[in-house]
């Protein structure tokens, strides 16, 4: 299946793309997606380390390594700094 992963803020700017489509086996997990991102963006892999990034699935921040299914919306972004 193809999972679209969205990027925001410093991650988006550093990579120069808003999203990437990853081809992954079904089902997959957040950690497998993180590992795929390490490979895809090897020079920027530190951006995806847990201390540098939050993960949202279907627009909710998740902290567990949950399973990801087709049509789930996945996003990686830096810790938030609004307000």
């Amino acid at each position: 299946m193809t999972i679209r992963v969205l990027f925001f803020a410093k991650i988006k700017e550093s990579l120069g793309v808003n999203f990437i489509d990853l081809k992954l086996a079904t089902p997959t997990s957040v950690e497998e997606i993180r590992n795929s991102l390490f490979c895809e963006f090897i020079e920027n892999k530190s951006l995806f380390l847990p201390k540098n990034s939050l993960v949202a699935v279907n627009q909710e921040i998740i902290t567990e390594n949950i399973m990801i299914n087709q049509n789930d919306e996945v996003a990686f972004f830096p810790p938030v700094t609004g307000g």
Binding site: L6, F8, A9, K10, E13, A56, Q59, E60, I61, A75, F77, P78, P79, V80, T81, G82, G83
Partner: protein, 157 residues
């Protein structure tokens, strides 16, 4: 009643006060918070900010924060407005307004909503200085402020 807005334009305090109080004789207290662009932050020569957010998730996140506040305090109305895009020194960034029967609930809920907004709502700030642009890093102080609510009493004034 709840109002959540993400917008480029500035907001009007008069309009928000009207939203919070019109035909609401039970609202004895209104608390407003406004966050502004300040000249010193990560850098000491900030001239402006660029604010980005995650459309869709931002609104959901703010709605959840407000629902949690409404479950904890007796609130009449809540308005949250966050600006995005390019902002200059002294511009308004964020507005949180809360009305309630009594001031204690309004003060506490306003503070609670800001503490959670700063640590959970998907906004990101980039500071603009004469020397370049720098993404703001998340601060431990903001996370401690939010954690305080987990240990504070759960009473409902």
């Amino acid at each position: 009643m709840i109002k959540i807005k993400i917008q480029n334009d500035d907001f009007s305090l008069n309009d928000e006060y009207y939203f919070l109080t019109k035909n609401s004789p039970s609202s004895g207290a209104v608390v407003n918070f406004i966050g502004r662009v300040r000249e010193f932050s990560e850098q000491d020569n900030v001239t402006g900010l660029m604010l980005e957010h995650y459309p869709g998730m931002t609104e959901k996140s703010l709605a959840k924060i407000i629902d949690t506040a409404k479950a904890r305090w007796s609130l009449e109305r809540v308005s949250v407005i966050h600006r995005i895009g390019k902002l200059s020194l002294e511009d308004n960034i964020v507005y949180v307004g809360v009305s309630s029967a009594h001031r204690e609930a309004a003060f506490e809920a306003c503070c609670f909503i800001m503490d959670y907004l700063k640590t959970e709502a998907p906004f990101w700030k980039k500071e603009i200085t004469p020397d370049g642009e720098i993404w703001v890093e998340a601060r431990a102080k903001d996370h401690r402020a939010r954690e305080h609510w987990n240990t504070a009493s759960q009473k409902k004034p």
